[in-house]
Subunit: 120 residues, 2 copies
């Protein structure tokens, strides 16, 4: 017969840190047990203590976005230890510069076409 006491499985953070996942654990809502790599990355790059401190300094409704952005940064840094997510910023900046130049050229062509069209 199953025990009537409820069992709370530890969140990914507490499992990783081999500690009891107590009620009110700052990590449990954002690091579910099914996503162990998310916490492992964040722990490796930022450190559990820094992440916990940062979360405690935020308002509760800001914490999910903060964890997701930290997880994105941590994953990027694990994949590319030299540039991390700055690689994505450089890529997007180059892409935006190239598109702006192509748009300027296209607008200049349109301006010329418009001149020819209206002068005929």
């Amino acid at each position: 017969m199953a025990s009537s006491s409820s069992y709370n499985p530890p969140c990914a953070a507490c499992k990783f840190l081999r500690r009891k996942c107590i009620a009110g654990c700052i990590f449990s809502a954002y690091f579910p047990a099914e996503e162990p790599q998310k916490f492992a990355n964040v722990h490796k790059i930022f450190g559990a203590s820094n992440v916990g401190k940062l979360l405690k300094e935020l308002l509760p409704h800001q914490r999910e976005d903060a964890v997701n952005s930290l997880a994105y940064e941590a994953e990027a840094r694990v994949r590319d230890p030299v540039y991390g997510c700055i690689g994505a910023i450089s890529f997007l900046q180059s892409q935006a510069d190239r598109l702006q130049k192509e748009l300027d050229d296209a607008n200049a062509d349109l301006f010329r076409f418009n001149d020819i069209y209206t002068s005929n």
Copy 2:
């Protein structure tokens, strides 16, 4: 009379961590004493130990780029604790999407102009 022994002022990291800056200090080449905020930010967000570990795992010629990208990420996270540099990624992604749409529209207009021009 000045002493003949040379005095090496500690790098920003060793000064911050209140320790002697020994020859071969992993931080000294990348965290000069004149830029204390650069190390303070990196320490606050990533932790000195994580940064030292990451630098030691890289080849010497990769370390400057790594420190600069870490410093950029750390400064962004200090300024915006919720989104950090992911805010810049979202902004650039929206900008690239908007430019791509404007370019597609301009190219469609050019195509129409070209059709009219060549059919006359």
